[in-house]
Symmetry: C2
Subunit: 344 residues, 2 copies
């Protein structure tokens, strides 16, 4: 079911206009603003066709048309202009990253704020997934009887810690020895392979501590994954700027959805193996996001994907700009994060 050139042009004009105005666009206004040379009657006919094909909807008779999810999908797939950011905007963006030296997670958290500020949408940044990172240090620090803190440090300059139960008769010296063994044996191993390696190499030694070892491995695994608390969310309030959220109840629902970290987390996790994703309206599985679009991108260092970040906005978001911004941030992140990382 191909759309001819004219239909495409009209559809595009409608979407562009609607992204700007958020109110149904009529045949007349589109003719002027997009400089289309057909009469409004012709345009009206085409609009009726486009509606029949499911690209447009009418809130009520005698109102203009608004684009459907299907229309946005077409728009995103075929009509993006891929405009790069302006010099100014790039400068602004770079400026944010110039003096960032306080660690990867800190950079990423502020990235969320930067993103939300320059797009005026809601931004999400996942902390790095350490699976592809390399272990640099492992330490068990005794806390109280039966408990210790396990700390890992990777080559990406990220530390992760968690409390772990230890056998009550395990001495601090034993813990220290174990820490050194693990650090030595697994130095520079990818986090995803550390567990395996440990079982093979020291499983036998620690046979008597079987339970502890398996708890430890599990904990290592957990730490290297990006947990639920590792999602930075910023600018949720920005949604209140847009007329679609003038209704306090809608706003409440939206905020409830994004504050529900675990669902956002799952969503981002799912997007994490894609370089770039755009999910429009009802394409979102999340109940509360079905009037929203989500655009995600991957940040990488030395071509190693580390994590995912993205933007949530109303379905009529400015896709062109959002994509440009994400690409700009992607580049900046690659550059900044690189300074924490060594070549393979």
């Amino acid at each position: 079911m191909e759309l001819d050139q004219r239909k495409l042009q009209i559809l595009r004009a409608i979407i562009d206009e609607y992204i700007l105005s958020a109110s149904p666009v009529g045949s007349k206004s589109i003719r002027q603003s997009a400089d289309l040379n057909w009469s409004s009657a012709t345009i009206r006919n085409e609009m009726a066709d486009l509606e029949a094909l499911g690209y447009l909807a009418q809130p009520h008779t005698s109102a203009g048309r608004i684009p459907s999810d299907k229309a946005y999908r077409l728009y995103v797939n075929q009509m993006l202009s891929h405009a790069a950011l302006s010099q100014e905007e790039l400068k602004l963006l770079n400026g944010y990253y110039r003096n960032r030296i306080d660690g990867i997670e800190s950079v990423l958290r502020s990235t969320a704020h930067v993103l939300s500020e320059i797009t005026h949408y809601t931004a999400i940044v996942m902390m790095p997934d350490l699976a592809t990172n390399r272990l640099r240090h492992f330490q068990l620090v005794p806390l109280t009887e039966g408990k210790a803190l396990s700390v890992i440090v990777t080559d990406a300059g990220v530390a992760r810690d968690s409390v772990i139960d230890i056998p009550p008769d395990m001495t601090p010296d034993e813990l220290e020895a174990l820490s050194r063994t693990i650090t030595r044996r697994c130095y520079n191993c990818r986090m995803s392979t550390v567990g395996e390696k440990l079982i093979k190499e020291i499983g036998a030694e620690l046979k008597s501590r079987g339970d502890f070892l398996s708890a430890l491995l599990e904990r290592l695994d957990e730490s290297s994954q990006t947990g639920m608390n590792m999602v930075e969310l910023a600018g949720a309030r920005n949604m209140l700027r847009y007329p679609e959220y003038n209704d306090v109840n809608k706003a409440k629902t939206f905020l409830a959805t994004v504050e529900q970290r675990d669902s956002i987390y799952r969503m981002m996790k799912k997007a994490s193996n894609m370089e770039f994703t755009i999910t429009i309206g009802r394409e979102n599985e999340q109940e509360g996001l079905q009037d929203c679009s989500v655009v995600t991108a991957t940040y990488r260092v030395n071509d190693m994907p580390l994590g995912t970040f993205g933007i949530i906005g109303p379905t009529r978001m400015d896709y062109n700009r959002v994509i440009s911004v994400l690409q700009g941030v992607q580049q900046n992140l690659a550059y900044v994060l690189q300074s924490y990382l060594k070549e393979d």
Copy 2:
């Protein structure tokens, strides 16, 4: 300027009513609901007096009265009923903490969510201030040329890390040796005294590395303080429940204020040396919180204050309940956190 018994009774009734209804209360309704035995005319006279004294305000003639900040202040100082939580609520609260074993920060972060859920206001929890904690482990992990990650672990089971510049000629062995020295010399020292101690004990040895040492000390100091990213905020959206935020613009302003972490951070920091604080309306320095009240409390372990947490709500918040909940959470936190801490 003392208020007589009757005025107090009436004022209290008005406040109680207004907390419930959020709409101006009139002389008649107050008479019924609070079972006051004076005629509405008498009550009206008293209300006029109370208004003249600054305790009440009238949105417009022919509307009821609403309490002023001054009234809430009086209410909070003299009229709280100090009702404990019900058995049910206590049970619910305890339930949240029953299975929490994944570390102090995690407990605290979820505390923010629990608080916001059971009060239906906005909750803030500051991560622990480590100044009074004792050092358990210190580690410098080399990352790339000129950079290392510094990690501290304290007896409270908290790890903090940050990237630090190191002299380019410093070898991994040197870093490791330094880490051990610091851990050994300062083991079980309060974080607030570690810097001092280091200068005294190894300042001489490291004279050649003067710059590095001072950077290190600074970093230690920073890490032991609660930074701006160490504020967990939850339930901001709850404010949309209340009619005072039915106006989308007000809601936006509020959300902007609390998302501005650093100001919230400063506010909490200021409250951190008080066991309990209640700040009402314009008493708040924060521009955007002048229609809100903030109630904070300290969480402690073994009588050692660790940090601050609190509630932000509209000035007409249910002070009694908020205070009860904060006390309940305070106790639960003390109990749960204790399991991570050793006696002095």
